[in-house]
């Protein structure tokens, strides 16, 4: 059965990055059943209402939404919150909805342990709690997959591709582009140089043991990415995420800003980046707090925090599976998140009592060690991560080596070889 795809909103007029319209083209071409956003935008409640109205819900449900690294999607949780002016869905919103039971799950007729929810958008996969709560609201589907990187839809001729981008975020004051200016204050070259210097400092703080070329690789990568980037959407570009801070009740805007709890654009990264080339927003998180806020208007009735982001599109198909590009959250509580591929017969990979066989199956010996570690207080998440890193799938077959086709007939136009003995007098 075809996938079911929900577009959570529509593109603003004149947007140089027509995210939703290209997404629609992409999923229609892929044969998906696409549900447009209603006027004013989709909500999670609207998605649930659609699902419960269907008699035959497919196993894969795609949610296409602009999103931010600070774990928010462009769809309010409920129709009521949308009517009250909410435009996004954050971790706090999800938590509130779960606590207040303000949104009933679609139910087993629509969502089962075989259902797969796939988010197309940006970064929200960096927050495990966001995914856990979203999974909870859906009623614990089989798995939820969400991007750890910025996601875009790009046009190649008439074909739309889904791509991810490597990004580097910096907290910045003031905004990247002021009002309707064409370039940042000081001009693009100056902005790029400063951004690259600051980003090199920030992302380069992570020590990479035995890095053969040293920190210059990071700076080269950033310089290369920033070289032609502007705010126009392209292979590389700048954009920014802003957080508007409004006072509540008797608070002043400044007090509201000062009281803002620290938050980050992803969970703390525990794995060390292997190379300077891996130093980006997926391996170094950006935290913001009230101290990063600045007055967004002369009256100081509104404060804001601005994060400027340099993005470089990775021009390859996105693998929707656990990895640097996507986080996979399963509802099962077992030790091994990997389903374990089917074993192959014979000697290849059919090891019995050891660690991980050639087919990726976890052995009794490894299971025993894992249980030993868990008994000693190892975190289940660490064990899950280790198991998720094991190779998956069937053993690889080799390249073809038998090709019967002839190369071609004999040449007749003479030898290609210049014989040194044939030198002629000058």
């Amino acid at each position: 059965m075809a996938d079911l795809t929900f577009l959570m909103n529509v593109d603003p007029p004149g947007d140089s990055n027509p995210f939703y319209s290209l997404a629609k083209q992409f999923f229609v071409a892929a044969g998906s059943d696409v549900v447009d956003a209603p006027a004013g935008g989709q909500t999670l409640e609207g998605v649930f209402n659609d699902l419960t109205s269907r008699t035959n819900v497919p196993a894969t449900i795609n949610l296409v939404s602009r999103a931010s690294g600070f774990a928010s999607m462009e769809c309010p949780v409920t129709l009521a919150s949308q009517a009250a002016g909410r435009r996004t869905m954050t971790v706090d919103d999800l938590q509130d909805a779960l606590a207040a039971k303000s949104l009933a799950p679609p139910g087993p007729a629509a969502v089962t342990d075989k259902t797969r929810i796939v988010i197309y958008g940006c970064d929200v996969g960096r927050s495990e709690s966001f995914l856990r709560m979203l999974s909870g609201l859906f009623g614990d589907p089989g798995e939820v997959l969400a991007p750890r990187r910025l996601g875009v839809f790009t046009l190649d001729g008439t074909t739309v591709n889904y791509r991810q981008a490597q990004t580097w975020s910096l907290v910045r004051q003031p905004p990247l582009i002021l009002d309707s200016a064409a370039a940042p204050a000081g001009g693009w070259p100056n902005y790029r140089t400063t951004f690259v210097d600051d980003a090199s400092l920030k992302f380069g703080r992570v020590a990479i043991p035995d890095e053969p070329v040293g920190t210059d690789r990071l700076k080269d990568m950033l310089t290369n990415a920033a070289a032609n980037a502007t705010t126009t959407f392209g292979p590389t570009f700048f954009f920014e995420e802003g957080i508007q801070i409004f006072p509540q009740g008797p608070q002043s805007a400044a007090e509201a800003a000062a009281s803002l709890a620290s938050r980050s654009n992803g969970d703390p990264v525990t794995a060390l980046a292997k190379s300077a080339l891996d130093l980006d927003d997926t391996t170094v998180v950006t935290a913001i707090s009230g101290t990063d806020a600045y007055a967004a208007n002369p009256e100081k009735t509104q404060f804001a925090i601005t994060v400027a982001i340099l993005a470089q599109i990775i021009d390859q198909d996105v693998l929707i599976a656990e990895g640097q590009g996507y986080r996979r959250l399963t509802a099962s509580k077992g030790l091994a998140p990997s389903p374990g591929p089917k074993p192959v017969g014979g000697g290849a990979g059919s090891g019995g009592g050891g660690g991980v066989s050639g087919t990726g199956a976890v052995s009794a010996a490894l299971q025993a060690v894992i249980e030993e570690l868990l008994a000693d207080g190892a975190a289940q998440a660490d064990i899950d991560a280790l198991l998720a890193s094991l190779p998956q799938g069937d053993a690889t077959e080799g390249l073809a080596t038998e090709v019967p086709e002839p190369d071609g007939p004999w040449a007749t136009e003479g030898s290609d070889y210049s014989d040194p003995a044939l030198e002629e007098p000058a």
């Binding site: 990568m221 000697g347 570690l373 690889t396 080799g398 190369d407 290609d416 000058a426």
Partner: protein
């Protein structure tokens, strides 16, 4: 602290590669509970002896599709593992700690390629002292008259210094002239200009130049020379490729005792001087500087005085094409029963699989953890009899519709294609260029963005089918556009123009083979500058 180590192996798709593992801890053999044979395990779980400082693990694949790999790890007191610096890109580590224990999985990244650059350089240092030259004019020569040859002097004359020392270097080429792509003809002669400053210093600064070796018994091709722009490591996207298909060996070298015959028969493919030199080095480099000899066959600046050396990566750099150049080393097909010279590459889908494998190896080498799952825009350049290889791909409808030719290959370059050959059984001449043109058009008609570029020294009627406008009298560089892109190029530059270019009188034309080779040594710059990547 109890420290456990489990080891797995996978390919670039993260698919398991079945292996036997052996391991030592501070040089003492380690055993796993699951040893299948003494010391060997397919799925080991090692418990390290207390205070282990170094662990060395060898993964030996079952079968010959992948190369074995050995990695040494230093082990910290807290149980963390650090691979040796050369192996860092070829292993992934994941750990799960508890207060008193630590479990680490070392996932070996197994490749069907290994870096054999040093071996290739060593082959260049061991030229034959005699060659089995044809005495009866029959091809191929198996037993000819052994003649003494001074390859050292010959190569010193051609390349200035010889042999190359420790590295497979791409030195600067201040002595080389390049075709002016924007204005290739002036006053009836080809317009060459000296190398720009960027090519006067070694290309090694920006390009990794290596020889990779494909695993597998009797694998053909076995060696692949590769030049890889280092900028690709900075943005790990699918890499654009140029595959350069040189001429067949048997057609051209049988009479000269090159590749096979005499003492070379004790050093079969690809383990002799000629496979490293003529088979790869010559395609990568330019000869020169021009020696100060009064007996030069052709008096001209490089590359025209010795155009056997093609300088392909230099031409790519001059054209501004940031592509990976791949040079498969074809095997001399001695007998009819032997596999075809380019072996497995005769299947385009297998070629794509090899490029994916090659791409993964190079990205791992550059410490990119997750190689792209596809390859970028690809062009195939075929020279001389190598155009038959390309023609065989294009004339086959199944191949044309396969993924590689229909989705990945964007451009095909014919460099001095043959026009005809003599069919041995009938003795009749068979026109082949018409077939090449027809096949290439059928391929290009699948997608308006496919590009065909053809450069040769003789006029031929069917070339007109590639171009919208009427072709002029030679010399010319003609193009046709589709969707504002120049998707077709046809160039005919006759011997008279080349002769005039090097300043020789028309009465003393250049030898045919000099002009023939000069096309590949110079015109690729033009093809690569047309925006095909």
């Amino acid at each position: 602290m109890k420290i456990f180590l489990t080891v797995t192996a996978s390919d670039w798709r993260d698919t398991p590669v079945p292996c036997y593992f052996t391991a030592t801890a501070d040089s003492f053999e380690m055993l796993s509970p699951s040893n299948d044979e003494w010391g060997k395990s397919k799925a080991p779980v090692y418990e390290l002896p207390p205070k282990t400082k170094e662990v060395t693990v060898t993964a030996t694949p079952i079968g010959d599709t992948y190369w074995p790999r050995t990695i040494s790890f230093s082990v910290s007191d807290s149980g963390s593992f650090t691979p040796d610096s050369e192996s860092k890109g070829f292993v992934g580590l994941a750990s799960a700690p508890s207060p008193q224990k630590q479990l680490t999985n070392a996932k070996f990244k197994m490749s069907q390629f290994q870096d054999s650059t040093k071996r290739a350089v060593k082959l260049l240092q061991d030229p034959p002292k005699t060659r089995s030259i044809s005495v009866g004019g029959k091809k191929p020569v198996i037993k000819g008259k052994p003649d003494g040859v001074d390859e050292l002097k010959f190569h010193q004359d051609r390349y200035g210094t010889w042999p190359p020392t420790a590295e497979w270097r791409l030195d600067g080429v201040p002595h080389v002239d390049f075709l002016d792509v924007g204005n290739p003809l002036t006053s009836g002669a080809l317009n060459f200009a000296p190398a720009p400053p960027s090519l006067r210093t070694p290309l090694d600064v920006n390009v990794d130049s290596v020889v990779l070796e494909l695993a597998g018994n009797n694998q053909v091709p076995r060696f692949f020379a590769v030049t890889w722009p280092r900028a690709l490591y900075l943005n790990p996207a699918p890499a654009p490729f140029l595959i350069y298909i040189r001429q067949f060996n048997r057609d051209n070298y049988a009479e000269n005792g090159i590749f096979v015959g005499g003492e070379l028969d004790s050093k079969p493919y690809p383990e002799n001087f000629d496979y490293a030199d003529v088979g790869m080095f010559e395609s990568l480099h330019y000869a020169g500087p021009t020696p100060d000899s009064p007996r030069l066959r052709v008096r001209a600046r490089s590359p025209l005085w010795f155009p056997n050396a093609k300088g392909v990566p230099y031409q790519a750099a001059k054209a501004g094409a940031n592509v990976v150049c791949v040079f498969p080393c074809n095997k001399f097909k001695l007998f009819e029963k032997d596999p075809p010279e380019f072996g497995v590459l005769n299947d385009p889908e297998a070629t794509e699989a090899i490029l994916l494998e090659l791409q993964a190896f190079m990205f791992w080498k550059g410490l990119v953890d997750s190689p792209p799952t596809s390859i970028g825009k690809t062009a195939i350049a075929a020279f001389s009899s190598g155009t038959f290889f390309l023609g065989n791909w294009l004339k086959d409808e199944a191949k044309r519709k396969g993924h590689f030719l229909s989705k990945v290959v964007r451009a095909v370059y014919f460099l001095e294609p043959m026009r005809a050959y003599q069919d041995k059984p009938t003795g009749k001449m068979v026109q082949v260029l018409d077939t090449f043109v027809d096949s290439a058009l059928r391929w290009a008609n699948q997608d308006p963005d496919k590009r065909i570029r053809l450069y040769m020294q003789f006029k031929w009627d069917s070339l007109q089918r590639l171009i919208d406008t009427t072709l002029p009298a030679p010399p010319y560089f003609a193009g046709s556009s589709v969707n504002n892109r120049t998707n077709r190029t046809v160039s005919v530059v006759t011997n008279a123009t080349w002769t005039k270019t090097v300043g020789r009188p028309a009465s003393n034309p250049l030898p045919w083979d000099i002009v023939h080779h000069a096309f590949a040594a110079t015109m690729l710059t033009h093809a690569l500058a047309q925006g095909d990547f």
